[in-house]
């Protein structure tokens, strides 16, 4: 990239709001005390998915602060510094309090039933906290909980009550990988049949190349992330039509620069993650304009209180804050964008990166040695691509069909 283009970029970036680093940090760290109040309406409504809420806040903060800072600020492994009540348990302690012995999985909150969604969130939190070796984690039991949910056709139910959804395929494979219990696709006798899991996901393919909740359900960007992520973890990307799907995903970019989840729907910041991560795995991020996307995300920030909303002018929440920050991280914006309040270029914070397959900081994925598959690796076309390739460097590459045929 020439210096002229870089200057252009900087000019464009300077017309946009800065990244409100400090405000977001405050937003995230003050959430817990707000939401855990018994008078908190938001807390009540979101009570059942608190485990995921904690995962979103921890991971979002982890992208903009170091592991030590996150631990101190959020009380990940010890009582938080921001807590007035020094009897508040650490987050890790609270995670274990949510363990449902009857099912073997983790619930969304204390006393709730084990479910794949919250089991994954719990394991993701423990991974970030580096507490997967905590003696309270019964790896065998949790693995069995997950394994028992696989159906003969390779699909996964969310819990014993039997709801089937491709989201659960992703949760199962990712959770087992984090537990270091995921068999290889070739294994016929593993605790889950990874090959069948991948084939099931592939059977959800639609006329537009996308994926839905079950075979027959329409394509939706959120489900697509889950399916592409699952296929990546299962080393089975060859089962999808990468070109068609990437094109469908690229057409989600609206005039505003934001991405929608399906045709004729409104742009929403959370799709910055679902779609961007899928495109990263497929090696097709250049098929959208990352500049315009970055601009859209920055405009969704709450410049008063921090946090990021689903679209400009709306109320932020931790879900969109996480996906907005993750999106900015994935396109390498955090290291280029203007930071609010920052004067000195040299003192510029170095942000951690997010992994598009596991939705965890890359240093965590590396520490755990998690594996996945990506479509291809184009080198040197753009800064953003290099950025993404850098964070995917540990993954196996499935050669593009064309490359294989020697037609490129």
């Amino acid at each position: 990239m020439s210096t002229a283009t870089e200057k252009e970029d900087n000019d464009t970036l300077s017309n946009l709001p800065p990244f409100y680093d400090n405000l977001h940090k405050t937003y995230i760290t003050s959430l817990a005390s707000k939401i855990d109040k018994p008078t908190s309406y938001e807390g009540a409504v979101m009570e059942h998915l608190r485990m995921s809420g904690v995962y979103w806040s921890i991971t979002a903060l982890s992208l903009i602060r170091s592991p030590q800072e996150v631990d101190e600020l959020m009380g990940l492994t010890t009582t938080p510094t921001t807590s007035q009540d020094d009897k508040r348990p650490s987050i890790v302690d609270w995670v274990f309090a949510c363990y449902d012995k009857d099912s073997g999985g983790f619930g969304g909150n204390i006393g709730h039933d084990g479910h794949l969604l919250y089991t994954l969130s719990a394991l993701q939190i423990l991974a970030i906290a580096n507490k997967l070796d905590d003696e309270r984690l019964n790896v065998e039991k949790v693995s069995q909980f997950i394994a028992q949910l696989q159906q003969p056709d390779g699909s996964f139910a969310g819990d014993g009550w039997g709801e089937i959804d491709t989201r659960f395929s992703y949760c199962a494979l990712s959770a087992l990988a984090i537990l270091q219990k995921l068999p290889s696709p070739e294994e016929t006798d593993g605790i889950v049949d990874v090959k069948k899991a991948a084939e099931y996901v592939a059977s959800c393919k639609n006329f537009d190349g996308g994926f839905g909740c079950v075979p027959g359900a329409e394509s939706h960007a959120g489900q697509i992330f889950c399916c592409v992520g699952a296929l990546s973890i299962a080393q089975s990307l060859h089962l999808l039509d990468a070109d068609l799907l990437s094109w469908w995903l690229a057409e989600r970019q609206c005039d505003s620069g934001g991405l929608n989840g399906r045709p004729e729907k409104q742009a929403d910041v959370c799709y910055s993650w679902w779609i961007l991560s899928a495109l990263s795995i497929l090696g097709k991020v250049p098929w959208i304009s990352t500049d315009k996307l970055g601009g859209f995300i920055l405009q969704c920030q709450d410049e008063e209180d921090g946090g990021i909303a689903d679209r400009p002018g709306n109320m932020p929440d931790v879900f969109h804050t996480f996906f907005g920050i993750a999106g900015l991280s994935l396109i390498g914006y955090l290291n280029r964008v203007r930071i609010d309040g920052e004067e000195d270029e040299e003192e510029r914070r170095v942000y951690r990166k997010i992994d598009p397959v596991y939705a965890l900081p890359t240093d965590v994925v590396e520490r755990l040695g998690l594996s996945g598959q990506i479509m291809s690796r184009d080198v040197g076309k753009s800064k953003e691509e290099d950025e993404i390739n850098e964070r995917l460097k540990m993954y196996c590459v499935l050669k593009d069909k064309d490359e294989k045929k020697g037609l490129s």
Binding site: P38, T39, Y41, G43, A44, V45, E47, H48, L49, K87, F96, A97, Y99, K101, D102, G108, I110, G111, H112, D113, H115, Q151, D153, S155, A157, D159, W161, G162, E163, I164, F207, D208, G212, C213, V214, P215, G216, A217, E218, S219, W247, W248, A250, E251, R262, P263, E264, K265, K284, P286, W287, S289, D302, D310, G313, N314, M315, F319, D402, S408
Partner: protein
Amino acid sequence: MHGQERKKYKARFNDPKISAALAQKALQWNALSKELLIRRKRLSPPSIAPSSSPPSTGSKSSGSTSKITGSAAETLKIVDKVLVVNPDPSHLWNHRRELLLQEKVNNKEDSDNTDDGNNNASDSVEEKDPSFQIRDELNLTAACLKRNPKTYSAWYHRKWSIRHWISLGCPKEGQESGNGGGEELLMSELGLCAEFLALDERNFHCWNYRRFVVAAIAAVANSGDDYDRETLSSRSLALDGSWSWTATSNNADDDASSTLEILMGPQLAAVTGKKIDGINDAPSSSYVSDKKRNELLALEWNFTKEKILKNFSNCSAFHYRSKLLPLELNRRIQENLGTATSLADVYEERLDLSQEELELVQNAIFTEPDDQTAWWYHRFVVTWASPITILKKNMEEDEDDKSAIIQAYLALLQDEADPIRDLIATEEEDGSGCKWGLLALHMILENIIKLSSLSEGDEDDEMLREEADECLEKLIRIDPVRATRYESMKQKYC
């Protein structure tokens, strides 16, 4: 909070009246929520000393000395209350299902107070344990869905309830088991789907539920007159919402003839149990008659058409239609051709059907060329109409037949290309350009070029490639955001 305008929302929350009301609601919710966890033995009841000790872990509170109060019926009432307020928590639905499925307490054992000898029940008669009534579950989930039409858990409970009801033999109101039938209730469920889709035609939960209901109708078919309780019960255990219907595959690896495609997959896990021949086995899911299946297919085929004609932007309807298309083809092949099927005859059916579908989308793409919805379906149909896969699998076919097939497809492609070229020209005159038209034309040209490699085509490949390249150049100009993709498509012609 999703979709809330910031200034308004903050103003509301800063309003002390509103803030107090919401705080009150939160307190009420938390109290009921805790109460339910205690009744379910997921939390210890509060100890006598008013301490702020942290809640117990998730283990059952065995050894607790406090009395766990409340009958199942009472608990169910509380569950009802909280679910209507917030239907999202799946554990609440789990609790409900447990209560509905639990073994009934023998009321007679406890009734020594109630009979005063005159067969008059006293005021303190025990409430009967809750029994499963489909009407209750349908009413409850409907109330929840009216407030929040996108709640996974509520839709799931509705499906679970329908299956449970079928497994009991489709009991009538007030009964606990039934003698089959049930189609009437299921047809009215389709009516509910139509209502919800009228409010939001893109609600994928509702579309999925509709497909589930169709599978349920197939499951109870023929279970009224010729009722066999055991068969119905087994069918219901296998009822998972999937359609194991025979369809004509376009998959290169499959047999050229009809093959089973699980076009609509399971939405609930099938309860493991006795496997009945012909239910799960592919391809002979023979318990549903062809007549019934064709009835249901026609119902859905017409429903999607209705939706599309009402609004061309209905992506969900087009998607559903893309799944029904191979089933419809199969039906036509069976009906029109019977068993004597030549490749050319089979292909003609495919072509005819494709052309009908293309007529359907043409209205859309020429009326609203900037709306991408119909163009995606257009692309699908043009590709689906291609005989290339079938020809590759049948290389030993008669040369004349093969040639006729290729010519027929070529004609379809030309018929598509010309009006699109006109459309592009018109849009260019207006200055706006026609992105989707250009993409479609490019796709058609690619298909023509591919075909000429199969036949000794007298198509001028060079001219076509130039025209295709020109499409890409124009696209790069009018849709610069996706320029990288268009560049990569150019490379295919190097």
